[in-house]
Assembly symmetry: C2
Homo-oligomer: 340 residues x 2
DNA sequence: ATTGGCACTCCCGTGCGGGGAGTGCTACCC
DNA sequence: GGGTAGCACTCCCCGCACGGGAGTGCCAAT
């Protein structure tokens, strides 16, 4: 029994099952692929694959369906890259390039992925933790409130209001703004605490209260994991006929609404050093997502790691090569756009 | 035949149908409500209501189900306000009050509505068009780019980058910033063009190019209807068992993803002078929403009209009184929070 | 190792019959 | 004239049996 052919059979099963959404039998397999052997032979291979846990049958006397383990093997070793058509590539480029600001770019990117993969698209906003500060702005609001606006090199803007115990002194605010920008601009979060620590020098003890409060707000904002934002698109694709059992979309929607779940997955997958990371079924470690797979990749990397991630969530029986190349393509364009 | 009783019957049908999700028959009706007459009499009333188009039967020899028209009558004349329990009110208050910034407030509000109504919640961000400007900030980025940041009195922050043909002059930017804030702060969009028109005075012709560019960006940003943002929560509630025909959730999700649809509905409903506006089934004028109803109300109004809207979308057979009071309650708290 | 043949399993669509819920109608009552 | 009781009728829904069909596993033969 040839080991190679057995893998061919698995690949054929995955491809056919993805295409037809029906359990695939030995007869159909030899008809649709030139395997050069008879159905009976295939049945032997299938028995072995089932033994190994790569495929399963929904019930006796039905065709076979890939298991999570089967998809995993397919993704890792059996799938070949499926490049996008060049009109597709061009469409991605022009669509993203005409965006106006960061919100617009993210919005377009997420819709694009949803459209290309016909699945649910997820885009994580450029992470504050990994961005560099471009500018800090302090805006007095009334006498006792100060609005702190942070602008990152990825174009993201965050703001916080600060309530003060004492009345504001415009000139102190002005000096602080200048000093802040001198010492903070261009720095990454990891380098900031040091730079900010020296900042109190040159201020009177009473003014230092203000300075410390502002510094605290800045650090807190940048450190807040909870400020990570994720946007979705294409949830309607979950309800497309044949997507999967229709009743199973409830739990999926619940999972998608919990940003925490998505953020955890993103951060876990960031550790995979593969260009495009894939989580299949139970690998997602989330009950609502056991019947889905998640394909992600990072974007916006400059030198070091990537700034944030994008991805696509679909049924276990998704078109893995297609999804992976779509996600990768959008990430590349996204990286290029943000670099300028 | 008493007209009053006929309306009682309609109310009873709506209430029972909402509660049981099953067509309701004459027998069940007299058992569950003290109508004081026999099933046969009810049947006569039902025949009349059906004649009038308020109820219908899915098929011969089935119970009756309210039509869009029936729900409309119910909402307009037959439903009584259902006040929230006082623990509920308290929960709303504390939940919203602990929010940190505008994004946080909006996020909590939308989740709250989803939770209270067990339906899909929609919250529109405070509209730029109806907000007043609190502050304009100009931030030079490199030599030839200027970042324009607008902050409204509702705490919303918008930014745009501006590409210039010539190098920046810091002092001109400084003067422009000061003048802009003097003439623009506190003004609503409608009053702005006048104030901005005089702004070029006192600048040299070359500097006026910059001034005009900035003014154009400010006006454009505020005027952009497309900058209206809407956030959703509770889409998973669509998939709850018995919500409605499960296959019908696809079109609904599609409609919800198109912000345009929601924004149109919001703006149409803003014209209803009723405190809480309701659109039932076909009244939404959108194919994907024919089997849903949309309950909205404005929030953040100070004197004049409201700043934006919140709402809840659910099946035709929703708990109208409950939904309406939940939406109204959240809107009130929201208005209070934003006022401070 | 591969193959043809064959018995076996199980799903699934279809047709049938009975029970039940609900209606509309008619005759009757106040 | 409005309300009521009775009754025949309609239609859904459920369980059931049945047959076709697809697919398997195994065995004997090559």
């Amino acid at each position: 029994m040839s080991e190679d052919r057995r893998l061919d059979v698995l690949r054929a099963i995955v491809e056919d099952y993805v295409a037809t959404k029906e359990p695939v039998g030995s007869r159909a397999l030899v008809e649709r692929h030139s395997l050069g052997v008879s159905p009976a032979t295939i049945r032997n291979d299938m028995a072995a694959l089932e033994e190994g846990g790569y495929i399963a049958q929904p019930h006796t006397s039905a065709g076979r369906v890939p298991t999570d383990k089967g998809y995993r093997l397919f993704v890792d070793q059996l799938s070949t890259v499926k490049p996008l058509s060049s009109p597709e590539r061009r469409a991605i480029g022009t669509f993203l390039e005409t965006a106006q600001d960061l919100d617009d770019v993210v919005d377009r990117a997420v819709r694009l992925i949803a459209q290309l993969t016909q699945q649910v698209a997820v885009v994580q906003y450029p992470s504050l933790r990994r961005s560099a500060l471009r500018h800090v702005e302090l805006v007095p609001v009334g006498l006792r409130h100060l609005l702190v606006v942070l602008i990152t090199d990825t174009g993201r803007v965050e703001q916080r209001t600060l309530e003060l115990g004492t009345d504001l002194d415009e000139s102190v605010v002005g000096r602080l703004r200048t000093r802040l920008n001198v010492s903070a601009a261009g720095r990454r979060l990891s380098e900031l605490p040091v730079a900010l620590a020296e900042l109190t020098e040159g201020f009177t003890p009473t003014d230092q209260v203000l300075v410390n409060a502002v510094v605290a707000v800045v650090e807190e904002t940048l450190a807040q994991e909870s400020e990570e934002r994720v946007v979705l698109a294409g949830t309607a694709n979950l309800a497309r006929v044949g997507s999967s059992d229709v009743r199973s979309i409830g739990p999926v929607l619940e999972a998608l609404e919990e940003q925490v779940v998505l953020l955890r997955l993103f951060s876990e997958m960031a550790e995979d050093h593969a260009a495009v990371a894939v989580r299949i079924g139970r690998e997602t470690q989330h009950d609502g997502l056991v019947e889905t797979s998640f394909v992600t990749t990072g974007y916006g990397d400059e030198g070091g790691g990537s700034v944030a991630r994008i991805g696509s969530i679909g049924p276990l029986r998704m078109d893995y090569p297609g999804t992976m190349s779509a996600v990768r393509a959008v990430a590349r364009y996204l990286t290029r756009i943000l670099a300028q």
